[in-house]
Amino acid sequence: MNASALLLRDQKTPPQITLSEGVLALKGDLLISTIESLDLRQSAGDTIDLSGVGQFDTAAAWAVVTLERRLQRAGVSPVITGANASQLDMISTLRQNMPEGDAPKLPRLTIVDRLENIGRATVSAMQTALSMVAFLGRVVATIVGLILRPTRIRGTAIVHHMQQVGLSAVPIVALMAFLIGVVLAFQGAAQLRQFGAEVFVVDLIAISILRELGILLTAIIVAGRSGSAFTAAIGAMKMREEIDAMRTLGIDPIEVLVAPRVIALIVMLPVLGVIANFAGLFGGMVMSWIELGVAPGVFQARLLSNTDVWHFGVGMIKAPFFALIIGIVGCFEGMQVGGDTESLGRLTSTSVVVTIFLVITADAMFSIFFSIVGV
């Protein structure tokens, strides 16, 4: 018997409303799941009769009060009959808690509103840029402070992050650079063979990998891997008020969270860049051998004799700057996370997009700079 008794609420009589001689009679089970089949747009009647009602919940009371208000607007004050004490109790609770009138509608956007939104978005983008610069300043100041007082440096944290951003990224970075070297050799060979200048493929690979592609693509991969991880980690801490807790304990979150990450990146990105350079050259060498018959020995000799060491230098000079961009943007966006999970997701993807954009912009500026100074 117990199961049937307990499942009783599943069997419902559909609610009905009938009007006869000024009495609006409600019948059946009035429940949130069935309430919408009731037509509440009644405008006549001076009595609401609930004596035929079975089950009754807050949605039912809402229906009764809606009905009552509607009739009142039509000029009658209806009497409620046939309700038991708990139903009356519920109805009066609803009367107190039901806002007057219909739910407010959201205003439509006018052209002026849209213009205003554009303006606001522009101003806030500029403010974000400004505060990012301020953040950069604070981080650099903190790092300089740490260098002056090395006892405060958190060695364990730095090593941990070096492993995360550096060591664990080696396989993917090396593989990516190797493949880029292969692609360059392959494409270069197809063109150079037409002029019988196959051997120049070495210069092509060496210059493009050492100067540009090695470090740029490494930076992009690290931005996607570690920049987003920084944002997510710091953002989650921000969301759970851990950052506020640190501040109240007198711990500077920049010193504890941001500085180790940025330092680890500045150390590790050049290392990853060197690995990418080797892997890229190796890929190019393998492909030149297979495709063009340039023997590894010839490749190596030409590489050493013809490639200015400055090509390598130019690539490496850029590495710490890219590292700074990745670290600063990743941590900054993490600090912007508010209390909701959505902002965490949004800012994590913003962080990656902004980082890659800034890295490529910086790369373009370096190109201009190096061509002016002539290296």
């Binding site: 117990n2 199961a3 008794a5 307990l6 499942l7 609420r9 599943d10 429940l31 949130i32 799941s33 309430i35 919408e36 919940d57 807050t58 949605a59 809402w62 809606t66 708990s86 139903q87 109790d89 519920m90 609770t93 609803l94 107190q96 808690n97 039901m98 806002p99 219909d102 739910a103 508010g338 209390g339 909701d340 999970t341 959505e342």
Partner: protein, 258 residues
């Protein structure tokens, strides 16, 4: 013959790793009652609640709600069961990317086929019923105070007028007036909706004011169940300390005065 219990827990064992939280716990909840679950911090009250609503798989034991097993049911049955209870978690557990109104509408949206107007109207009522101001409807959870988040969580738990509500420390972090209002609201909903309330609490005032029965959790099982008066008779040091300590006396005096 007495009505069968609406929630019945038999021989529940829960473990995290090799840390046993419950060790052969038995508990019955009767239909229409407000049962207060008390116990020291970390005795597994929240874990018990999670096990009863099927969020956590016990290592052993049987849990039935409405006469149905909560773990070994099909997806459709579990869905139907779930519709008949509402849960309020210890820290509100509002969906942080939805506004309060959307949070309260969420169960209606998932379970029923209501028009947006009806949904909005019912959500507005529920939010007012739990004592939140009207402008809270459009706020995001991160813009609310801790107590307001609790209330919004309660509004979401009662959105579908469930038959059982599980409340995890609903009055912790509320001001005394707000806590008393919360108690009154729970009692009123019980009266009008015939709710059964599974209430985890440390609040002695709540226990005095609205609980029909109290179950004391300690040492991995239910140490005692009974009314407040019966609790005072239980001969166990922790129970004695809990119900006869200075705070308990203050709550008792207050109750007698009113």
């Amino acid at each position: 013959m007495a009505e069968p219990p609406i929630i019945s827990v038999r021989g529940l064992v829960t473990r995290f790793g090799n840390h046993t939280i419950h060790d052969g716990l038995d508990l019955d909840v009767r239909k229409g009652e407000i049962i207060g679950i008390v116990g020291g911090s970390g005795t597994g009250k929240s874990v018990l609640l999670r096990a009863v609503v099927g969020l956590l798989k016990p290592a052993a034991g049987q849990i039935t709600v409405f006469g149905e097993n909560v773990r070994d049911t099909g997806v459709a049955d579990y869905r139907r069961l779930r519709r008949r209870w509402g849960v309020m978690f210890q820290d509100g557990a509002l969906f942080s990317s939805l506004s309060v109104q959307q949070n309260v509408e969420a169960p209606m949206r998932e379970q029923l086929d209501l028009s947006p107007q009806t949904r909005a109207a019912l959500a507005a009522i529920k939010v007012r019923m739990v004592g939140l101001p009207e402008n809270a409807l459009q706020k995001m959870p991160s813009e609310l105070s801790g107590g307001m988040r609790k209330r919004a969580g309660f509004a979401r738990a009662i959105a579908l007028d469930p038959e059982i509500v599980f409340l995890d420390e609903p009055t912790a972090g509320l001001d005394p007036i707000g806590a008393a209002e919360f108690d009154a609201l729970t009692a009123q909903l019980r009266r009008t909706l015939g709710l059964t309330v599974f209430l985890v609490t440390h609040d002695l005032d709540t226990l005095h004011a609205i609980c029909d029965r109290i179950a004391v959790l300690a040492e991995g099982r239910v140490l005692a169940t009974g009314t407040m008066a019966q609790m005072l008779e239980v001969d166990h040091p922790w129970v004695q300390a809990y119900f006869k300590g200075p705070r308990a006396r203050a709550a008792l005096i207050q109750k007698e005065a009113s």
